[in-house]
Symmetry: C2
Subunit: 335 residues, 2 copies
Amino acid sequence: MSTSAVPVASGLPPSLESARSIVWPLLEERVRALQPDLAQVCLYHLGLTDGGGGTSKLVRAGLMMAAAAGLDLPPREVGTEATAVELLHNSTLLHDDIIDDDRTRRGQPSAWSAFGVPLAVLAGDAMQAAGLRMALDSGDRQARLAADAISLVLAGQTDELMLSEDPAASVAQFEQVATRKTSALLECCLTAPALRADATDAALAALRSAGHHLGIAWQAANDLEDIWGDPAVTGKPARGDLKRRNLTLPVLTTLAADGPAGTRLRQLWRSADTTATHLDEMAGLIEQIGGRQAAQDLSRHHLDQALNYVSHAGLTAAGTDELRTLFHLIVHRTT
Amino acid sequence: MSTSAVPVASGLPPSLESARSIVWPLLEERVRALQPDLAQVCLYHLGLTDGGGGTSKLVRAGLMMAAAAGLDLPPREVGTEATAVELLHNSTLLHDDIIDDDRTRRGQPSAWSAFGVPLAVLAGDAMQAAGLRMALDSGDRQARLAADAISLVLAGQTDELMLSEDPAASVAQFEQVATRKTSALLECCLTAPALRADATDAALAALRSAGHHLGIAWQAANDLEDIWGDPAVTGKPARGDLKRRNLTLPVLTTLAADGPAGTRLRQLWRSADTTATHLDEMAGLIEQIGGRQAAQDLSRHHLDQALNYVSHAGLTAAGTDELRTLFHLIVHRTT
C-alpha cells in the first residue's frame, strides 16, 4: 500500500494506514518468534491476543513511513527499521510501567501486573534485543542510529526519575528530559529514511530539529493530559503523575509560585493524600496559577517549531503535508 | 599485554590477565559515559566505586582473549567485542537479581537493593543497549552474533523461570535451559574471534560445541555450588535457590525418587520453611538420593566434551592449553 492510497475504513492518515498494514504483520511475526512465554507477554502488551489487532497507533512507524514517502521512498522500504523502532519503543513501555508502578496501560492491566515483574522485565529486555537485531537487518547505520536513540531514551527516563526528587526543577530541565526521553526516538524515525535516501545534511538537520521540537511538544501535551485528559482517551487512570507527585510541566511551573495559592499548592503537594478531592484541588490551583496555560503555550511553541522545520526539509509537498498532519495528530490526539 | 606474558602478582591465567588489563579500562570508560545516575549503578554493580578495581574475573572476556590468542590474533584486537559481551552479560545480572529477588551479589547488596528497582531496571537496559552499540563498533557480524546470543540468554532465563514451576522437569530440560541461558554467550565468546580470524567452518563448529558443553558443565557446577558451595567463595548467601525452591539440577534429579527419602524430600520441598535446619535436611536427602553425584557426573561429562572439542578446533597449542585451563577454572572455581 502506498501512502498516497486513500485510507479505507479507519479514517487514519495514509502513513498510519501504511504503518498498520506493513508494520503490524512484521511486528507480530517477530514477537511470535520469541520464547513462547515472552511472546505471550509481548503480544498481550501490544494488544495482539484474543484476536486483537493491536492497540497502538504505531505513531513512530507512521512518522518513518511519512518521512520515507516525502523522500520518494516506498513506505515498505523502511518497514524493517520501523518495526525495529516500535520494538524498541515498546521495550521501554514495558519497563516504564514497572518503574512507575503503573498498573494500567492502554485501558487494560499493564504487562507486569498481568504477568508479574520477572516476566515483564525479561519481555522488555527481549524486545530491546529483538529491536536492535532487527535494526541491524536494515543496515549498519540504521542500527547505530537506533542504538544511540534508545540509549538516549533510557538516559532521559533516568533524568526524569531524578527530576521527580528535585522540586527546584525548571522548564529548561523539563525540555532537557523531553529531548532525550521523547525526542530522541522521534528524531531517529525522521532521519532514518533520510539516511537511506542519501538526503543532504541540511535535510537531515531539519528533520532532526523537527523531531526534537515534536518530542518536547508531545511531552508537554502528555503532561497536560495526565491532569486534564480523559482516561477513556489516554487509556491510563486520571492524574497518575499527580498522585505519584511526579514533577510534570504544569506542576513545576507553579510549585514555586508566590501568594496563598502557591502556599496551598505546596502544602497539598507535600501531603501524602491521593484522594480525588485532594487531586482536584491541586489541579484547580495549578490551573489558577497558570500551569495549564504555560504548558499549553510551551507545547504550542515547540509544535510550531517542529512544523516549521519539517516544512524546510526539502521533502515532497505531499510528504510535508502528511508529516504536518501527523505532528498535529500526535500532539493533540483525539482518539 | 600479550597473553603469553607471565602474569604478575595476581596468579591469573594470561588470558584473564589480558582481560583485566584490556577490558576493565574499556568497560569503565564506557560505563562512565552513561547518564550519571545510571553510571553510578553500573559502576557499583561492577565493583568500580570507592577505588575498587572491579569484582568480576571477566571470564567471558578472558575466553575471548584466549580464543583470539589461539587464532594468532593479538588479544587487544578483540577488546571491543569482549567489552561488549561483558556489558551484555552484566545487563542480564542486574535484571536477574530483580527477577530472583536476590539481595546479595558478589558479597555486597545487589544493585536493586542498593539503588531501588527503577534505577536497576534502567541501568540493565542501558548496559544492554551500550553492549549492542559497542558490538556494532567491532563490526556487523560481531553485532549480529552478540544480539542473537543475548536473545538466547533471555529466552533461557525465561525457560528457567517457567521450569521452576514444573516439578516434572527432566535433566534434558535442564540441559536445554543451560544451553540458552549459559552456553549461548560462551559460544559467542569462542566463535567471535574465529569469525574475525576467518577460521574454517570446522573450527567454528568445534568452538561452538566447546562453548555449548562448557555452559552446561558450568551451570551444573553453579547448581551444586548453591547447595554445597562456600558463600565466601560464591559471594551469594548459601542455598538461595533451595530457599526459593528453584528446580536446580541436584533437586530435579531427586525430587521424584522412590522410598522414604524421596517422600520426605517432597514433603520438605512443598513446605514453606526456609530455616537452615530445614535446608540442611533437604541438602542431606538430596545427597543421599544421589543428586549431588548426578550433578557432578553431568558437569564432568560436559566439561570433558568441551575440553575435547576445544582440542580439535585447530588452535595453536598454547591457545588450546590456555582455553583448557580456563574451562577447568570456570567449572571448578576456587576463588
